[in-house]
């Protein structure tokens, strides 16, 4: 009963916050709270939400789990799709598969380094981010040639049904899939077990290294998918396309109530967290404040959010 409530609360708080922020936006800036802007916020939130799905898994896996390579994997994924598909509708699917495979490989290497070599996740993924940045330069040789296939634009960012773009539907499906993955599959059970306590998980027969490698590989795949959908929105690539998403995805997970110590959390929380951060950013943007004030307000608001439930336990307890 008690644990149930703990798990539910942060998601609800975050959702409530999202609604409150949205209403404040409507009050402060008439025209903020209309249907199309709401849809646009959902679209922007879904990019963050898709990337943060992988981050959620990694953070639940515990052991100071964090994936700082997602930003560069997003960029690499987008660039691969951009160059391979080169505006050709028929090549989109193969390009997507290649991008996802590369993301999976990068994530799996992260996982192997973390489990076999026992490198701390922050160090391993940070080092990997540098390598992926290098890969991006080698792949592009500084020339960002290619183009976005029209089918991507129409399926991802243009209105599909009820003016809702495809990426939002993708996000909703991902939300359902993540719930099923975490709550209804053996992998999900093992992931939480590993996150709570690796020794007990190992002693009860969980293959901890396998779970971790799969988790980091999934994070790589989801980051590459994030790059794919982001490309459908921006329609062009640049060398730091994904870099803003690295730590923002961690923030979205934390705002959603998943605890950085691992073993606890939900993707619904992360979805709400992504919404909160995106609405916050949109709100600050519509206020037409200078860049400096925008950054200060964003940082201060994030600190305020952390004060609600980002706090660690007292040592006394």
């Amino acid at each position: 009963m008690n644990t149930k409530r703990l798990r539910l609360n942060p998601t609800l708080i975050a959702l409530l916050l999202a609604v409150v922020l949205f209403i404040i936006g409507g009050l402060v800036h008439p025209g903020f709270a209309n249907y199309f802007l709401a849809i646009n916020i959902l679209r922007l939130a879904s990019f963050l939400g898709i990337v943060a799905a992988g981050q959620t898994l990694v953070i639940i896996s515990g052991g100071e789990g964090i994936d700082l390579s997602v930003g560069s994997v997003i960029t690499l994924g987008a660039i691969l799709v951009y160059q391979i598909s080169n505006g050709n509708n028929a090549m989109v699917l193969p390009a997507l598969i290649i991008a996802l495979a590369v993301g999976a490989a990068i994530g799996a290497i992260n996982g192997l380094g973390i489990t076999l070599l026992r490198i701390p996740p922050l160090v391993m993924t940070l080092g990997m981010a540098g390598v992926v940045q290098g890969l991006i330069l080698v792949v592009t040789q500084g020339k960002l040639t290619g183009s976005t296939a029209p089918i991507m634009v129409s399926l991802i960012s243009n209105p599909l049904v009820f003016a809702i773009p495809g990426v939002v539907l993708v996000w909703l499906i991902l939300g359902a899939a993540m719930w099923a993955l975490l709550e209804r599959t053996p992998y999900g059970k093992r992931l939480f077990a590993v996150g709570v306590n690796r020794t007990t998980a190992k002693l009860s027969g969980v293959r901890v290294p396998a779970v971790l490698v799969v988790t980091y590989a999934l994070s790589g795949i989801l980051a590459a998918l994030g790059g794919f959908v982001l490309l459908g929105y921006t329609q062009r690539v640049f060398l730091n396309l994904g870099s803003d998403y690295t730590l923002t995805s961690v923030a979205a997970v934390v705002v959603g109530g998943t605890i950085l110590a691992g073993g606890q959390g939900s993707y619904f929380g992360t979805m709400a967290g992504s919404l909160v951060l995106t609405i916050l950013t949109s709100l600050i943007t519509t206020l037409l404040l200078p860049e400096s004030i925008r950054e200060i307000v964003f940082g201060a608001m994030l600190l305020l959010l952390l004060s609600f439930y980002g706090r660690q336990r007292r040592l006394r307890n």
Binding site: E64, I66, L68, G113, L116, L117, R118, I119, P120, L122, V123, M124, L126, G127, M128, G130, V131, V132, Q133, G134, L135, L137, V138, T140, Q141, G142, R198, T199, K202, V208, L247, V250, A251, V254, L260, P290, E291, S292, I293, R294, E295, I296, V297, F298, G299, A300, L302, L303, L306, S307, G310, R311, Q312, R313, R314, L315, R316
Partner: protein, 341 residues
């Protein structure tokens, strides 16, 4: 209670004595050797001092990062603090400042660095926010403030002040003085109660708390010290570039973490030191030098650099892994040995 205390001090002594600089030193020797092979005048005083001058800002920042990491935290806002300090100093100086105005500007820069560190420390140690997300949030606050003070790089610094940085008191470059003084201070600190508390808090905050260590206060002070060192790093940047730049520190944050880890300090806390952090920065910078002098095709440079850094970061893990495979199976109980409470 008493038993825990005595076990804890012996454990503590072991942790303090087990300063594993071996791997970083090995890396350093290799990097220096390759550098020397590619750049024969590497050991000439002018070249050495040039190199150290360009390494110093990151060395100071890594020293601050090391202290925070030893205390069991991490600070993602240090780069933003550096930016903030440079613009505060340069903006306050204005054009053609007098001596008192210059001194005031420098003092104001240091105060803003310390206050920034205090804000981090307050949020992490007193309010118990998670360090990673907290310092990520405050990094926005600090870089926003930096942009508010000076929207773009610029300003000027009196030539006399810039000459200070290039001066050679007693025939030895100022850079070396700074490095030596900081290492001396660090070693002095190591014999104080503060340092024992610091390593205890980072290693086992629970036992430290139980044995009466003021955990929150120690954590708070690590962030303040890091803010101070970030301010010093910003000051050095102002002296060497003569400008304030609201974006200059951004790429330095993650570099400082990589340098600290390269220097043999573990992210889990309770172990490591500033000496290692300095070695880490020198290794990182020498790797870049080597790639530059080895004529690596330009589009491959970042990848080669990334791979070498990753290899260096994973090196100790690879060694341990191979050793684990070669040793008898009874010694191979990875997760049992690794348990942290």
């Amino acid at each position: 209670m008493i038993k825990t205390a005595s076990v804890n001090t012996t454990q503590l002594r072991r942790v303090v004595l087990r300063q594993s600089y071996l791997f970083p030193l090995l890396l350093l020797v290799i990097a220096v050797a390759i550098n020397y092979a590619l750049e024969p005048n590497f050991f000439q005083p002018a070249a050495l001092s040039d190199n150290l001058q360009s390494f110093l800002p990151l060395m100071l920042l890594a020293a601050g990062q090391a202290i925070v990491i030893i205390g069991g935290g991490v600070d993602l806002s240090l780069g933003a603090i550096v930016s903030l300090v440079t613009v505060v100093m340069v903006h306050t100086m204005g054009s053609n400042p007098g001596v008192s105005q210059t001194a005031f500007a420098i003092a104001l820069g240091f105060i803003s660095g310390i206050l920034a560190g205090a804000l981090n420390g307050f949020c992490v140690a007193i309010l118990r926010f998670q360090p990673i997300v907290t310092t990520f949030a405050t990094s926005y606050v600090f870089s926003g403030l930096a942009l508010l003070v000076m929207p773009s790089a610029g300003g000027s610094v009196p030539a006399d002040l810039m000459n200070v940085y290039l001066s050679n008191p007693l025939g030895i470059p100022l850079t070396i003085w700074v490095i030596v003084i900081i290492l001396l201070l660090w070693n002095l600190l190591r014999s104080t109660r503060f340092s024992r508390y610091l390593f205890a808090v980072g290693g086992q905050s629970m036992s430290a708390y139980v044995t009466g260590v003021p955990v929150s206060l120690i954590r708070f002070s690590t962030y303040v010290l890091a803010g101070l060192l970030a301010a010093l790093s910003g000051f050095v940047l102002v002296l060497s570039t003569g400008t304030g730049d609201p974006l200059v520190g951004a790429p330095m944050t993650l570099e400082s973490i990589v340098a600290v880890v390269l220097g043999g300090t573990r992210l889990s806390g309770g172990q490591g030191g500033i000496t290692g952090a300095f070695i880490g920065v020198i290794i990182l910078s020498l790797i870049l030098n080597i790639i530059f002098f080895a004529n690596v095709p330009s589009w491959w440079q970042t990848l080669v650099n990334g791979l070498i850094v990753l290899l260096a970061l994973t090196g100790p893990g690879v060694v341990a892994f191979i050793r684990g495979r070669l040793s008898p199976a009874t010694e191979r109980l990875p997760f049992v040995r690794k348990v942290r409470s």
